[in-house]
Structure formats: structure tokens, C-alpha cells
């Protein structure tokens, strides 16, 4: 077993890594083709909730890991919002030291099995890999390798639970059990705090549970990570809405000295077009929550879900992709994405778009709904779509879609899922009138420690960013944990 030498600055020069590098020439490494993630056949998977990506086996993972050049200046790390020591974990995989690889991941990322699955690697770590940036080749499959190492650890039953030393008996409350809250809780408990996470829903995990479907991120994977936090001493309480069941005042009275708010961007946006309130038109949050959190697609669960033959999902993000693929799995004959821009501008992960295409999802890009019609019972029966073309780039840098005059046409639909973004959950700001928010309703925080204008109250994730990503939420959780630590160690003052 290679000894873990935490805290050393230049781990790249450890003998085992030097030895590993000398085994193969850089040229030889670069000639190995990037691994293809094995996946369940598209026909089969689109009829079940089985996870699409099967995962790499040890041999293939080690071969992929050997592509990594263990760069002197590994730019890939800069592309990771939580700064995972990517070459070190990858080299542990190449060396066959999979548990050490997992531990390396966990030094900075408490949910590697999740991130390996859902990070948009193509615009983060992998975009910065020297293969992609300088060599015009496919980057090292960092995400697949991360998933491999994390899954290996989960399955080994030898999950590393860091020993907590120096408990300081200070109580910190975390509000929301999404990735932001979980990562803040993980860091805080490691620093010796008594941490309790309060969650409004009856299940822990936030969007990881109620939003992202089983075929992309099995709930059991999230549960294992939550179990680890519990073993480290984090307490959890479900069915508590902070601001309603308990206020910040109550928590202060119970002895909580600092707060991290990771309450997410729960509020779904609608387009406010005629007919949008007909039955059979719902937000992706409602649709996915019914299926993922409430088990609505299984007959022995009480919650119902509407099934559609012709399903239109409006939007081009991950949420839209998850909804349309869920609709396909629930038996839709036509499951369509209706998106007002082109493939190039779609915010969804590239892998999800690819998977969706294979599963027979239809893409009506450069189309936008302007009106819905319903049958006599008020159930949506058709959508009027308008064709779009791309104009000049807008403030986001993406080319702005403009309607093509007189291009409207009607398509039959019996289920419409609106997936055009979310706004911050207003419950917390509503319950704390002195809290500063932006005009979008997000909580204003300082950039360094993510503290709000209320001293001792920190916030991060989607409640601060609007809709963002799992890894950015987790990065915020860590940053705020460091901020809270500083705040509490400096004698409780700002």
C-alpha cells in the first residue's frame, strides 16, 4: 500500500509517481484512445429506470488513467471548482490504488460519486486538460475516472470516514440538504463543529433526490454519501421548514452560533403564455418530483403522475433533458424537446443530449411555444409553435433567438413540461426581512466567505447563484464552511 502523505506540497515528486511516469513515454500515453463509457442499450434503458452509464471496470479505468501525462502544471485542476488534485487521484487509479484515489477525491469533494456522474466536465476539468487545450485530442475522461474510484470505494464497504478530532462543541445549523448544504456540513463537522442539517422535505439530498432521475444518478449513491456524513457525526432533521417550523431566532435560542443557508432555487418559472394553466401542463420540478421523490411511476405509490402519448418539454437544460427522457420511460410515443435556440447553445450536458438522441427523443430546436389549446375537459391538446432564427449575440454571449414571422404551426400534445428555469426559493428571504437580496431574489453575500449582511449567516449554492451546478453549490458549501470557521474562531465578531 502506498502511504498517504497528507499535507506534502509537491506530491508529484513522490517516488511512486515518478516511477509510474517512467513506465510509459508521454508519446505512448497520448496514443491510447479515450475510453468509451459502456452504456445500457438505448432501447432497453428507455423502458426502465436502470442507470444508463454502466461504469468502467478496473482494467479499463487503469488504461484510461494511463493516458494522463501527470503534467507539471496540471491545468485540469483549475477547471475544477473544488480544486480536486486530479493527476494524483488519476495516478492512484493507474497504480491500482483505488481506495487512495477515492480518498484523494474526498479531500476536497465530499460527493465524488455524484460529481463523477453529473458534472459538466466538458466545460470544466476536461476542458482544461492538456489533451483538449493544447493537443487537439480528447481529454482524459476525468469524470468517468472519478465515478470509478468513488463507486469502487462505495462497493468495497471500506468507506473512509475521517476521524474527527478536536470537537469544539459549537453548534452550526445548515439549512437545506442539497449539495451546498451537504458539503458545508461535511467540512464543518471535520473542523469539530456540532452540525445539524434541517431539510424541508421528507427526504435528504435536495435536487439530487427530487430532481435528477434514477437513470442518471441512483438515489442509493446519494444515500451512501449521506450515511458517511452521519457516521462523521452530522445530524439531520427532515420535515423542518426554516422560517416556518423554526425561525433563526429559535435556532439562536437553541444555541446555534452560525448558519449556512443552502435552500436552493426551488421556484419554477413559467412562460406566461395563453393556455399555460391547462391540465397536463406542469413544471419540470413538479413532474420530476412526482416521479423521483414520490415514486409516482410505480403503481404501489399513492402519488399520481400524468402520462402522455405526445409529450413536449420546453427548454434545453439538464432539467429539460431529464424530463423528456423520463416521459419516454413512462411510455410516451413522441417525446420532444422544444428549444428556442440551436444545439450549440443548449445548456444541458453534452452527454445527456447524446443519450437523449439515442433514446429516440425528438429535438425541435429553434422553436418556441406561444399558445396552448385544450379539449373540453381542460386537458391540453395542442401547442402552437413559432419558428425561430438566431440573431445577434445577447448579454450572455449566446445568439439571441428571434421569431420568424408567419411561421406558426400547431402540433398535437397531451402533456407539456415547462423547463424554462427556476428562481430562488423565497421562503428564507421572506422570513428574514433584514436580509439583503438582489433584484433576482438571490441572497447577497460577500465573495470571499459568502457571508450575508447578517453576521453569522452564510449562504451558497442556487439560493445565491440562481440555477447553477452541483459542483458550484458544493464549492460554495466549502467556502462558507471556511468562512464560518473564521467567523467563529475570531471571537464571534465580524
Amino acid at each position: 500500500m502506498i502511504s498517504e502523505n497528507e499535507g506534502s506540497v509537491n506530491k508529484r515528486n513522490e517516488p511512486w509517481r515518478q516511477e509510474l511516469r517512467s513506465r510509459l513515454k508521454a508519446k505512448e500515453r497520448s496514443l491510447i484512445a479515450r475510453v468509451k463509457m459502456p452504456e445500457v442499450d438505448a432501447d432497453e434503458r428507455s423502458k426502465s429506470t436502470v442507470e444508463v452509464n454502466i461504469g468502467l471496470n478496473a482494467e479499463i479505468a487503469r488504461r484510461e488513467a494511463s493516458r494522463c501525462l501527470d503534467c507539471v502544471n496540471p491545468a485540469c485542476i483549475e477547471g475544477c471548482p473544488v480544486g480536486i488534485d486530479i493527476p494524483r487521484f488519476v495516478k492512484y487509479i493507474e497504480a491500482g490504488e483505488f481506495l487512495n484515489a477515492a480518498r484523494t477525491l474526498k479531500e476536497t469533494n465530499s460527493l465524488p460519486a455524484v460529481c463523477g456522474r453529473v458534472c459538466p466536465q466538458e466545460i470544466q476539468c476536461e476542458a482544461k486538460c492538456i489533451y483538449a487545450e493544447k493537443m487537439n485530442k480528447e481529454p482524459v475522461a476525468i469524470g468517468h475516472l472519478e465515478r470509478f474510484a468513488a463507486d469502487f470505494e462505495q462497493q468495497s464497504g471500506k468507506i473512509h470516514i475521517p476521524e474527527i478530532t478536536g470537537k469544539n462543541n459549537l453548534k452550526v445549523a445548515v439549512i437545506g440538504s442539497g449539495p451546498a448544504g451537504l458539503s458545508a456540513a461535511g467540512d464543518l463537522v471535520k473542523m469539530g463543529y456540532n452540525v445539524k442539517v434541517f431539510e424541508a422535505l421528507h427526504e435528504l439530498g435536495g435536487v439530487l433526490k427530487y430532481g435528477i432521475p434514477e437513470f442518471r444518478l441512483p438515489n442509493s449513491i446519494v444515500d451512501v454519501e449521506i450515511e458517511s456524513l452521519k457516521k462523521m457525526g452530522v445530524e439531520f432533521e427532515t420535515n423542518i421548514v426554516i422560517g416556518k417550523t423554526l425561525t433563526f431566532e429559535d435556532l439562536k435560542n437553541e444555541g446555534y452560533k452560525a448558519f449556512f443557508v443552502g435552500s436552493g432555487a426551488g421556484l419554477p418559472n413559467f412562460m406566461n403564455i395563453p393556455g399555460e394553466d391547462y391540465n397536463g401542463i406542469l413544471s419540470s420540478n413538479e413532474y420530476l418530483t412526482r416521479v423521483n421523490l414520490m415514486g409516482a411511476s410505480q403503481s404501489d405509490y399513492d402519488t399520481p403522475v400524468l402520462k402522455g402519448k405526445h409529450v413536449a418539454v420546453i427548454g434545453g437544460g439538464n432539467t429539460a433533458m431529464d424530463s423528456v427522457r423520463t416521459a419516454k420511460r413512462l411510455g410516451a410515443e413522441r417525446a420532444m424537446i422544444i428549444y428556442r435556440r440551436s444545439f450549440d447553445e443548449m445548456p444541458a450536458r453534452k452527454e445527456e443530449i447524446k443519450h437523449a438522441k439515442k433514446e429516440g427523443i425528438e429535438f425541435l430546436n429553434l422553436h418556441n411555444p406561444i399558445k396552448y389549446n385544450a379539449d373540453k375537459d381542460g386537458r391540453v391538446s395542442s401547442a402552437i409553435l413559432q419558428k425561430m432564427e438566431l440573431g445577434e449575440p445577447d448579454s450572455s454571449g449566446r445568439r439571441r433567438p428571434v421569431p420568424i414571422p408567419d411561421s406558426e404551426f400547431e402540433i398535437a400534445v397531451d402533456l407539456v413540461i415547462v423547463s424554462v428555469g427556476v428562481s430562488p426559493n423565497p421562503l428564507i428571504p421572506q422570513s428574514l426581512s433584514e436580509l439583503n437580496t438582489t433584484r433576482w431574489g438571490t441572497i447577497s453575500v460577500d465573495e470571499e466567505y459568502l457571508q450575508s449582511n447578517i453576521s453569522g449567516l452564510f449562504a451558497g449554492g442556487d439560493i445565491v447563484r440562481g440555477g447553477a451546478t452541483v459542483i458550484l453549490a458544493m464549492g460554495d458549501g466549502r467556502k462558507a464552511a471556511a468562512g464560518i470557521h473564521k467567523y467563529l474562531q475570531n471571537g464571534f465578531g465580524k
Binding site: F270, R290, L306
Partner: protein, 275 residues
């Protein structure tokens, strides 16, 4: 998990449960509701907090049996547990002394109305309450209502108790004889629609507490959306009370039927399973 401490059958279709929930009992105000879930595979349904006792740490829910979840809940006994209970949710009723208030409660709507009437009475209002039900045996909480009202009018569809006729007829009589400053209407959507039309005719400001379908109850899903004053509002976080004259009741009625077939088949399965 919250333990049920008491159960009373108020009518064949309506039960009253007292449930241990100390935090909620402390926080709740008139107008608040909770979300309840029974069993791991259960559905989340909203129910108004009818009464609360901070001292014993209990809240009271009054449940009309309509479908699977309400039947499951009504089948629980003292000592049993509710799997999940979260609240208090929604905005509390705005309570102030307005003068004379006409309260219309239809069917089980009396349950959510009771705490509101109590609070309004305490604020110094004169309360005239019109209670409507299909027949005598469906009238609930009559004693409690009489205790906090200055005047009670009872209407039954079949004339088996009080006067025969719809609730709107009773309301109209009251409006003719009194100067009404504010009205409340709580009950089935169809009843609230007609109450609202009536008070609109007489230009009486009116508040309705809407009973949409809900899932999370925290503003996350949009299942509870209604159109009020031509704007989309979420009943769970913006409501449940709204200016009745601005509510699009036809849309509300349509949306309440959204899952009719699915609910019916779930209920059929449940009924067979318990036989």
C-alpha cells in the same frame, strides 16, 4: 413521525385527529396548514390546522374522506403515527377589527374556518356565520362555531336541518339585513365561486382560502398555481387566502380535476386492498 393522541368521528365522512407536533403547535396561526404523508409510499396532502394547543403540544386536523390518503389518515387510531408532518405552511390570516364579518363555511370548510373565526372574534369583530352542508349529518363543529359567532345560520340542501337551500341563499338573507364589512368563504371550490359572485354583486370585499392540489407545499413545484388578478400565484407560498373576487375559480375547478382518473384508480386499489 408524529403520534396521534386522539380521534373523534365528527360524521360518517369526517374525522378529527389530534396529533403531537409541539413545534408546529407553538408556531401556528389561524390560516396555516400542514402537509401530511402516510407511509413510505404515501402521497403528500395539505390539511388546515384547525386548532392547536401549545401546552400539550398538539395540533388538530379535521379530515374529510375523499380519496386514498384522506381515507388512510382517517383509518389511523390513537397511538399510531403519521409518517411525515411538516408545517405550519402558508401565510397566516390577516386579523384586524373590520366591523361585521360574514363567514361562509361549506362542508368540511368549517374546519379551516373555525380558527379564523376565533381570531376574528377575538379582534373584536361581530361574526355572522352561515354554515352549509348537504344534510344534517354532514354538519360538523356546530357547538364550537356557535361559541365564537354572534349569529349562526344553517343551510342544508335537503332541508334536514336549519333552512332548506344553498349556502348563497343564507348569505343573501344576511346581506339584506346587515351591513357587512368583509366576507370569508371557505369550502369546496364550486361553493366559493358562487359565494364570491354573490358578494361581488353586493360589493363586499371577500377572502377565499383555496384548496388546490399540492405536492411539496414549499413553492418548489407549481402544482398549486392559480390565476389571481390575471397573475399566476402559488397557493402554498402566496396563499392560501386570496381576494376571492380576483380568483379565476373556473380554472381552479378545472385544475382540481387534473388527476381524477389516476386518483380514482389509486382509491379503487386501496379500497380493494383493505377489504
Amino acid at each position: 413521525m408524529n403520534r396521534i393522541v386522539e380521534k373523534i368521528n365528527l360524521s360518517e365522512l369526517v374525522v378529527k385527529l389530534s396529533i403531537e407536533a409541539p413545534e408546529i403547535a407553538k408556531k401556528r396561526k389561524a390560516g396555516h396548514f400542514v402537509i401530511v404523508k402516510i407511509g413510505k409510499k404515501g402521497e403528500r396532502i395539505p390539511l388546515t390546522i384547525s386548532q392547536a394547543d401549545e401546552h400539550s403540544g398538539t395540533i388538530t386536523l379535521i379530515i374529510q374522506k375523499v380519496g386514498t390518503t384522506s381515507h388512510k389518515l382517517a383509518a389511523l387510531e390513537p397511538g399510531d403515527h403519521v409518517t411525515d408532518l411538516v408545517g405550519p405552511l402558508g401565510h397566516a390570516t390577516h386579523i384586524e377589527n373590520k366591523g361585521t364579518i360574514l363567514c361562509a363555511g361549506g362542508g368540511v370548510g368549517i374546519a379551516p374556518l373555525l380558527p379564523i373565526v376565533e381570531a376574528l372574534k377575538e379582534a373584536g369583530n361581530k361574526i355572522i356565520l352561515v354554515l352549509g352542508a348537504r344534510s344534517k349529518d354532514l354538519i360538523i363543529l356546530e357547538d364550537e362555531i356557535r361559541k365564537v359567532s354572534d349569529e349562526v345560520v344553517i343551510m342544508t340542501d335537503d332541508g334536514s336541518y336549519g333552512q332548506k337551500g344553498l349556502i348563497t341563499k343564507g348569505m343573501e338573507d344576511v346581506i339584506m339585513k346587515n351591513r357587512i364589512d368583509l366576507a370569508y368563504a371557505i369550502g369546496p371550490a364550486i361553493m366559493m365561486k358562487y359565494c364570491s359572485l354573490l358578494t361581488k354583486k353586493h360589493a363586499i370585499p371577500t377572502i377565499a382560502s383555496l384548496n388546490t392540489i399540492m405536492v411539496d407545499g414549499t413553492g418548489m413545484c407549481g402544482a398549486c398555481r392559480v390565476t389571481v388578478g390575471n397573475k399566476t400565484r402559488f397557493v402554498c407560498v402566496d396563499g392560501p387566502e386570496f381576494n376571492a373576487h380576483e380568483v379565476d375559480f373556473d380554472e381552479l375547478l378545472m385544475r382540481l380535476g387534473a388527476y381524477k382518473e389516476e386518483e380514482y384508480s389509486s382509491f379503487k386499489e386501496y379500497s380493494q386492498a383493505i377489504k
